[in-house]
């Protein structure tokens, strides 16, 4: 059995060497400029299909919220679609759909993004709509609009968290991981009572503080002409008034000093176990290595936890390991569902044994290369689409905010390809210790 496995191991490497050209460098050509009001603008031309993506990031997320108003950044995001001074309620969507366009928005702890994808002939319509809400959202804002989206967002919370099996666990896990006054300790979706408390006056203050062009970045990617697009951006966004600079967040130190254990119940039939650590923030040393750790542990059938828990012993139904990277800090989370007839303790013991092995000994060259090859291919898959979430426009904005420049694709990939097996082991040893972590178990409710 071992001999066969060895033969197989060598085969793809040989074929790869034979089958030709090196991958093309990852490059996304762009032009960048700044308006007098501080709006950062990035343009990228890609004419493969006649569509244009208009992507705006505001550097505000739930981390900017104050206690008592959690969930507000996301509720505010909803209000951005409800009309502005020159765009009647409902028109934002009807005008875009009538032009063959799609739009959406999302909020995380750290940023809020807005995406509009339109046929290339509707670029100016998208810029009109996007600039009107950047400049003149408050002109037609009302308590009724806030109430309307408050109900919608509460239903989003019910649908995606409360009424979803294990949906409340991530909220509980963040509370355990981060200190109470750390902005990552509360959920982006918000607590129900805080959603109830949000007021029209909060909307006014929040808009004035965070929704200024100098706190935003606009990417336009797709079938565009650089010069004409620049002129259009100046025309529609140039008059939007500049706001006060936004103070950076100064979060309290976050550190786990021991093992925190907690058990909660849910309306489920099987138990779930979460084991989690606080880890280095995005792009800090250790962040990329922990992505590879997650792949070695739970990426594919041969990964250590998958093979042990799902394939060999079949104690668990699923297992995931994720380095969840953020600018103010990251967490590494292992999540697994325990099969009927097995216990959380059994599964946790197996996880601990596998973690101990990885801390003590570097992974094999094959394990590391398999992970890196997957990561490299994923970078190319991210090059195809210009629009929506995760398209090139969104990624250019993401890298711009991260500070390395919009076209940071090759540098980002190099963070991974430069890693050795020893780096992966060292990351597991340093950042995934057995004695400083969080353990959350979700058990079925007692039968009534």
């Amino acid at each position: 059995m071992r001999t066969i496995a060895l033969a197989i191991v060598l085969l793809p490497a040989i074929l790869a060497a034979q089958s030709g050209t090196a991958p093309r460098p990852l490059e996304v050509a762009y032009r960048q400029f700044q308006l007098a009001n501080g709006l950062n603008v990035i343009l990228h031309r890609d004419t493969s299909v006649p569509i244009v993506a208009v992507n705006v990031w505001y550097h505000v997320g739930s981390a900017n919220e104050r206690p008592g108003r959690t969930g507000f950044a996301h509720l505010f995001e909803h209000l951005m679609f409800e009309g502005s001074k020159n765009v009647k309620e409902g028109e934002f969507d009807t005008l875009l759909e009538g032009a063959g366009g799609d739009n959406n928005g999302s909020t995380t702890n750290d940023r809020t993004n807005y995406v509009i994808d339109v046929p290339s002939n509707a670029l100016e319509l998208a810029l009109y709509l996007e600039s009107d809400r950047m400049g003149y959202l408050l002109d037609t804002m009302s308590p009724e609009r806030v109430n309307g989206q408050r109900d919608v967002v509460k239903n989003e919370r019910r649908q995606s968290y409360e009424n979803r099996p294990y949906g409340m666990a991530s909220i509980e896990l963040d509370k355990m991981l981060w200190p109470a006054n750390h902005p990552y300790s509360w959920p982006t979706i918000g607590y129900m009572e805080d959603l109830t408390a949000a007021s029209h006056d909060d909307v006014v203050q929040f808009f004035k503080k965070y929704y200024a062009p100098n706190n935003a970045s606009l990417v336009i990617a797709g079938d565009i002409d650089y010069e004409k697009t620049k002129t259009l951006v100046e025309k529609w966004f140039g008059e939007v008034p500049k706001g006060e600079p936004v103070e950076p967040i100064a979060p309290p130190a976050a550190m786990l000093t021991g093992v925190k254990r907690q058990t909660m119940t849910d309306r489920v039939r099987l138990s779930k176990l979460f084991v989690a650590w606080l880890t280095p923030r995005v792009f800090a040393p250790g962040d990329a290595a922990l992505d590879v750790v997650s792949s070695v542990l739970a990426g594919g059938k041969n990964s250590r936890l998958y093979k042990r828990l799902i394939y060999d012993t079949q104690m668990a139904q699923d297992v995931e390991a994720t380095q969840q990277s953020g600018p103010l800090g990251s967490s590494f989370v292992i999540e697994t569902t325990v099969r009927p007839g097995h216990t959380v303790a059994e599964v946790q013991k197996a996880i601990d044994e596998e973690l101990a092995k990885l801390r003590q000994e570097p992974p094999s060259a094959r394990e590391v290369q398999r992970a890196l090859n997957q990561i490299e291919a994923s970078f190319y898959r991210r090059m195809e689409r210009v629009g929506s979430f995760g398209g090139k426009a969104d990624q250019l904005n993401s890298y711009y905010w991260a500070g390395g420049g919009p076209d940071y694709f090759a540098e980002d990939l190099a963070r991974y390809t430069s890693l050795s097996a020893g780096d992966v082991q060292a990351a597991a040893e340093e950042w995934l210790p057995p004695d400083r972590r969080v353990e959350l178990t979700v058990n079925p409710e007692e039968k009534k």
């Binding site: 793809p12 765009v87 759909e97 063959g100 940023r111 046929p119 309307g148 408050r150 008059e239 600018p327």
Partner: protein
Amino acid sequence: MTAPAFRRGGRLQATQGRLKPAPTTILAALVIVLIGSATTLTQTKPDRAHPPSLGPTPRLTVPPIEKRTLANGLPVWIVEQHEVPLAQVNLVIHAGSGDDPANAFGLASFTAAMLDEGAGTRSALQIADEVEFLGASLGTTSSFDASAVRLNVPVRQLRPALALMADVALRPTFPAAEIERLRQERLTALLQAKDDAAAVAPLVFSRVVFGPTHRYGTAATGTAATLKAMTADEMRAFHTARYKPSNATLIVAGDVTAAAVLPQLEAAFGAWPMSAAGARTPVPSARQLTAGQVTIVDMPSAEQSQIRIGWVGVPRSTADYFPLLVLNTILGGSFTSRLNQNLREEHGYSYGASTRFDMRLSAGAFQAGAGVQTDKTADALREFFKELKGITEPVGAEELAKAKNYVALSFPGEFETITDLTSHLEEMAIYKLPDTYFSQYIANVQAVTAAAVQKAAATYIQPDKFAVVVVGDRKTIEAGVRALNLAPVRTQSVDEVLP
């Protein structure tokens, strides 16, 4: 940390998929300094009184499909797309859950899932290791109408990946231990589905509309009983009978040329022996519902009720395809659709409401659905029926134009990735659409008239005969639902409806 919160739910959340969330930092202030001088403002104030007019609609040049045939008769469709050095190769087998034997619901699905669990001389673990090492993704899947093996791979690794793919598709070994493992995985997944109202509702709705014996009345994966009974011999027999070059289409898109890729395809798939596939018996047409009925499935303490409403719809071959596409867009197929505007924007009962026609080789369901807050369940049902009845009235010109433009003008965006492109080609192969389908698509949408929409609505939307399924907290919702007097109401537990 917490997942992003979205303006819209459902499919859009999936767009972030396995990709790592985009990284962000707080270094923005530093960066702005590096950008250089700000541009000066030379423009006059823009006219915001009216939205800017749209320029001429851009033309979508549909990439040409090169249709070839391998020596063994396997049809090959190739589309060149050189933007990114990736290749997508989909082998479509024209057999799916609709071809399951009457006593073995779930066979096509289980067979497809077993393809990469041992093939040729490789074990399940070896296949997974090699696929991942190539940076490839290789999926095996099955729907009601077809099964497929789908490969996405950096193009420089295409040759070894094709060899693996061919083993998986043509030479699966169905090892007993792997079958038992997947069987337990699938049984556990069925058990877990009972926890989730959003998973229970569609299963119950299909059962109510199609009944226990019609194939569409049971999930593609089958039931606990059929899963427990399924054998390796049945899977082998299904594979032998259905997975044949004469019953398949090989679809290739990406950074390849036909001339270069054809010899590679011949090398990988040429050894597949030619033989005639047995005739395909279509799933019989389901008997249409003739009277309304309401089923409440109890999920004690649920914060929302999952609602599904509908009946038997149309097959993909319907002559009314384009009128129905436009009708559905107006009723519940877009953000500004009547149902979403009513339930979400006007009343705030829901995070989103939608409608769909499941068009398969035979008629699938028409369904309207939403998750609504528990204490507004009856109010939401009333609004559902208001909109379902309202759509049979004539549709105004502006609303019709908006829906047609939304469907027609967004079409080019569906050809951006090789994954999207090949999924359109799969649709073309499975439903035998004409070669001109893509090039005529926009014109066909634009040709839909208000009269055609109204006629389609009268035929296919008859709310008084619809089945209603509500999965929610019975003690809170039952009285209100009964008081609506929609139709006779029955109540069931989750374990009763999903044994």
